[in-house]
């Protein structure tokens, strides 16, 4: 996985060295919104855990579309080209539970994605205040999965907590529409991310998170899905 990261940074570094680009503006983009995720394995694991309850529990949330945010350094390249790199964070989770007057069982799964990568934005349509651009991005994705289960029966409490992580590349593409002010632009964006998730393993001990019904199969957390949001862009050296 270090190789992917090296490629990303080498590409970014070489692009920044292009002679025609040095005098161009630097900027910051900040975006936030909602992202959906496939999370097939995590939904499967959640169903399995629910099936181990001695009572009939219920899944109250199963990895719904949730928050994503990104902050990037950007440089204006050729006339219609912006490029840069930065950090993206996404999160989602799942919960199943059961409670009656004698006690409760609660299982929570919290997932976070930390992506570091580079992007290119190509403007396909531009007017005085509005531009529409295509956006492509490559990231290295570090996923953390925290699974906690708590059983409380007549005041006797037993808790289990495990943390897993995986590393893998992801690519995304999308469209953005920005309304430009003097040195600031705000707009909306949407796109699709394709994640190539790595195998989940325990953070302490590297034990893989295997399928409870097939010990040969290691589970993954797949962030593939749509995202929509709002975006702001600031030019720094105006």
């Amino acid at each position: 996985m270090k190789r992917y990261l090296s490629y990303i940074y080498l590409g970014l570094f070489l692009t920044l060295l292009l002679p025609g680009l040095r005098a161009q503006n630097m900027g910051i983009t900040v975006s936030g919104g909602l992202a959906s995720q496939s999370m097939d394995d995590m939904k499967y694991l959640q169903e399995y855990i629910l099936g181990t309850y001695p009572v009939e529990g219920k899944i109250t949330s199963s990895f719904p579309p949730f928050a994503t945010a990104s902050i990037n350094l950007m440089k204006q390249g050729f006339a219609y080209l912006h490029f840069g790199g930065g950090y993206t964070y996404s999160t989602t989770g799942g919960k199943s539970s059961y409670a009656d007057p004698t006690g409760s069982i609660i299982t929570e799964m919290d997932l976070s994605s930390h992506r570091l990568g580079a992007f290119l934005t190509y403007t396909i349509w531009e007017r005085e205040h509005i531009d529409i651009a295509l956006n492509g991005r490559v990231d290295l994705n570090l996923t953390t999965v925290e699974i906690s289960s708590g059983v409380n029966v007549l005041g006797l409490i037993n808790r289990i907590y495990n943390q897993y992580r995986s590393l893998g590349p992801s690519v995304s593409g999308g469209l953005e529409c920005m309304y430009k002010f003097e040195n600031l632009a705000v707009g909306i964006l949407g796109g699709y991310l394709v994640d190539i998730p790595g195998d989940l393993s325990k953070t302490d001990g590297d034990d893989p998170l295997t399928d409870p019904n097939d010990s040969e199969r290691v589970l993954t957390a797949n962030w593939t899905g749509w995202h929509v949001g709002i975006k702001t862009r600031f030019w720094l050296n105006y």
Binding site: S61, K95, S96, D110, V153, L154, N183, F234
Partner: protein, 143 residues
Amino acid sequence: MRKAFLFLTLLSLLMMSACYFVDKEIYEVDPVAGDPAIVTVVSNLDTLPQAPVGDSLEVFYSVNMENGELFFMEALLSDEILYTSDSIEGSFYVYPFQSAGIDSLFLDFYHSSNTNTLADKIGYEARITSRSYAIDFGEEAGK
């Protein structure tokens, strides 16, 4: 420039609350209790009113559970546990030095409550069916 950074800071603060996935909903259930277990206890003391201990007295018990599960049973004499078992039938001895005169022997059977609660399902909640028998330890015997 300053306004831009102010806007950026406010936007970041607004987005902070979305940094962690939170679901506060808990699926709450009011379980419907099932029919209570029907417990039938048979002992050799059933037909021996004030059974004399003599040198020793062997006590047999057998419990039949319908619609329930026996967790364990205890035999108590003057609040002291004489015998415990998780078997549906068994026997134990009572000796004259364990009490004096007429005393009560309790056989307590702990079994499933059938309330269908979480505590019931994992065996943390029990209903007790108790039987008591008068035992004659004799005038001379004593603790």
